[in-house]
Symmetry: C2
Subunit: 222 residues, 2 copies
């Protein structure tokens, strides 16, 4: 599979912080290599790096990059997601799989030049909805869902569970400062269990990272 990059345009740090955080994290979960954001936003960068550092993989973020600069030297196809574009089911077979792609995800206003620069203007439905949803569906279909459960070799791994929550800490990446506390939570043998409950608890979900997102740092249930 070729590399997938996201170019987020129209980002306003105060107003769009949560939406752009969702764009970045969902593209990471779906196998993208990284994101460019047109407006400089240090807090956003820190949050996304914090998630990548804990949950693994090599997702990159760079803010303060104009879409003209990101696309200028890009060797690959540029895909612009817009509700006005051609149908995703008709566009997908035309997009080469042996070249990198850069996906432009707009916020409120999208300049006319983006439609011109894009190799493909693609709609995910012709109803007004959400750039996060459109990007997620595009990536899920483009990658055939292959990235969703790939092992990122992070410090933390969530293991699918029909009823509760299973979070495994990968021992070789444990932080030493927390080792003594966590040892108490380890299973008798095998991989150390950071936290395992029969039922879902009311703790914060690590759905978003750091100060910037709505969740803040995850609290581990006792």
């Amino acid at each position: 599979m070729s590399d997938i990059w996201i170019m987020r345009i129209g980002h306003r740090p105060e107003r769009d912080k949560r939406v752009t955080t969702h764009v970045a994290l969902s593209s990471r979960a779906l196998g993208a290599r990284g994101i460019y954001v047109d407006t400089y936003d240090e807090v956003l960068e820190q949050n996304i790096r914090s998630v990548a550092e804990r949950f693994g993989g090599d997702y990159e973020i760079k803010t303060g990059v104009r879409w003209q600069d990101a696309t200028r030297g890009f060797k690959g196809k540029v895909v612009h997601l817009t509700m006005y574009g051609e149908r995703v089911d008709e566009a997908l077979p035309k997009i080469p799989r042996d070249e990198d792609i850069m996906i432009i995800v707009g916020a409120e206003k999208v300049p006319r030049e983006v439609y011109d620069r894009a190799d493909f203007n693609v709609s995910v439905g012709n109803q007004p909805h959400s750039e996060i949803a459109a990007l997620a569906i595009f990536l899920d279909r483009f990658t055939e869902g292959k990235a969703l459960y790939s092992d990122r070799h992070g410090k933390l791994t969530v293991v699918p569970n029909e009823r509760g929550k299973t979070v495994v800490e990968n021992p070789d990446r444990r932080r030493m400062r927390a080792a003594s506390h966590r040892r108490r939570l380890q299973a008798p043998g095998g991989r150390p269990l950071l936290h395992r409950e029969g039922r879902g608890g009311g703790d914060r979900l690590p759905h978003r990272g750091g100060r910037h997102g709505p969740g803040g740092r995850r609290r581990l249930a006792a």
Copy 2:
């Protein structure tokens, strides 16, 4: 296809207005019948109804409904989306297609009771990402993408276009007060064209409705 309902929990009107708007609009675009939101939010209701009124369909919204009340009398299966749940590709074949489903979409905190009440706790990937993205992928897979380009018989219809923007106004649903202005934009024959450009313009995309969302009312390009 059975009816699909969304139950959004943990909604805080000020903080979550944009994320919950995205949840509602993307579920509408993907074929859901409507959404319940636990916290009363009149502005959210107005915005979602405004989109449904312009773009068609019979999507419903009701806020101020506790999830316990929404699920109590519900005849169908309850699906809770959580990054801790079982894999979506393993869960999907188990979910009956001849019963209605209610999908619980949490914000930051999800009470333990939700995991118990749900017939299925389903993950869309095991990485922290976005409830909007998770819901979109779940619905796209569950409905096999059938709702994305269905005709909603709205006042406005967006027609897929590789380079520009094509928005068609359906004549029998035109608002009378705007008729004289719009008549100037009509094509010489056939269906009236509200707006057709060769290239995408810099106007606001109608991605979100009303005062509540980021976009506000759409301005039509001249």
